[in-house]
Chain length 163, copies 2
DNA sequence: GTAAATGTCTTAGCTACTAAGGGAACGTGG
DNA sequence: CCACGTTCCCTTAGTAGCTAAGACATTTAC
């Protein structure tokens, strides 16, 4: 279906389409987490750990990225560790810190559950040319940048509300 | 920046970019809800009410769309109603049902908080040609369809897990 | 007219979060 | 070396929102 002509769209249509995608993805995430016996927050943190790769995250890093308190992270790590997704490791340079390492077998466990959807998405992407993918990816990246800017501005101006 | 050539992208890059966008949006949603004195679930339900427009949703509809129990919906509607976002109305045809109507003033209240980000996104969209927007919108729509299919399949095969 | 089904609300209990503080480890300045 | 403040994670107490199960009113079917 490469290069199939599509009817042109308006910004409003694109925005609405994006909202629907995000809503669907949110529910999917919830289902996936439930199936793995985790919470959405746990799964998100596990994703952060995977994304960080070899330079292991600390518990505090996770708190910052997931926007939760360090107290919450303790619970999250307890669950993830007990379920065999991560292990806590001492930091050789700073004994206060706790570094979080992913358990290799757990990665494939998550991927196994997610494989169905992941394959479908990859197949969908294969339906587009590299140039079209470039447009889509570019937009994703810029929209993400905007979202981060927006969040920063919110947090800078008034961390607590006034409404 | 219409028609600016972009470096071609791979499916994996696109998928990763999508994940980041969704993660950012998720946190933004949380911030927005907090600022409005609501939970993310409340805000999501309010969005469903707005989307439904004039044919008012019932409490049960909301439970189905938000994937929560009807007991939870009672709490959600209590909060939304107390904060002045919606009103409960009797259904003339079926006195068991509760129909949910949005309070007009509340719509602009939410939009006021969201306006900053919304304007930036719209501006971003304006940077793309109608044809490029068509590609993006098309992809959103098809990815959403896939997500829904995946969810349906999950719920059909085994509503509860086996792991 | 009775029985089953439907739609919302209630109740009890659970889980994950925050806020506040504690104790160990770091790092700086005398 | 050694107090001092800081940083990091964990603990504790309290809260909020969810589920599950059932009550109650209403509708539908036979």
């Amino acid at each position: 279906m490469h290069g199939t002509p599509r009817p042109p769209a308006t910004p409003a249509e694109a925005l609405s389409a994006m909202d629907h995608l995000i809503a669907a993805h949110l529910i999917g995430q919830q289902e996936l987490a439930r199936r793995l016996g985790l919470t959405v927050t746990d799964l998100t943190c596990f994703a952060f750990v995977l994304e960080a790769g070899d330079d292991l995250l600390t518990a505090g890093d996770l708190a910052a990225r997931a926007h939760v308190t360090t107290g919450a992270v303790t619970g999250i790590l307890n669950r993830l560790e007990r379920a065999g997704y991560v292990t806590r490791r001492p930091d050789p340079a700073d004994r206060r810190r706790v570094r979080v390492a992913a358990v290799p077998a757990a990665v494939s466990r998550v991927e196994a559950v997610y494989a169905g959807h992941y394959k479908r998405l990859t197949a969908l992407f294969a339906d587009y040319s590299a140039e079209e993918l470039a447009i889509i990816t570019d937009w994703f990246t810029r929209a993400t940048g905007l979202a981060h800017e927006y969040l920063e501005k919110l947090n800078r101006n008034d961390p607590d509300e006034e409404c």
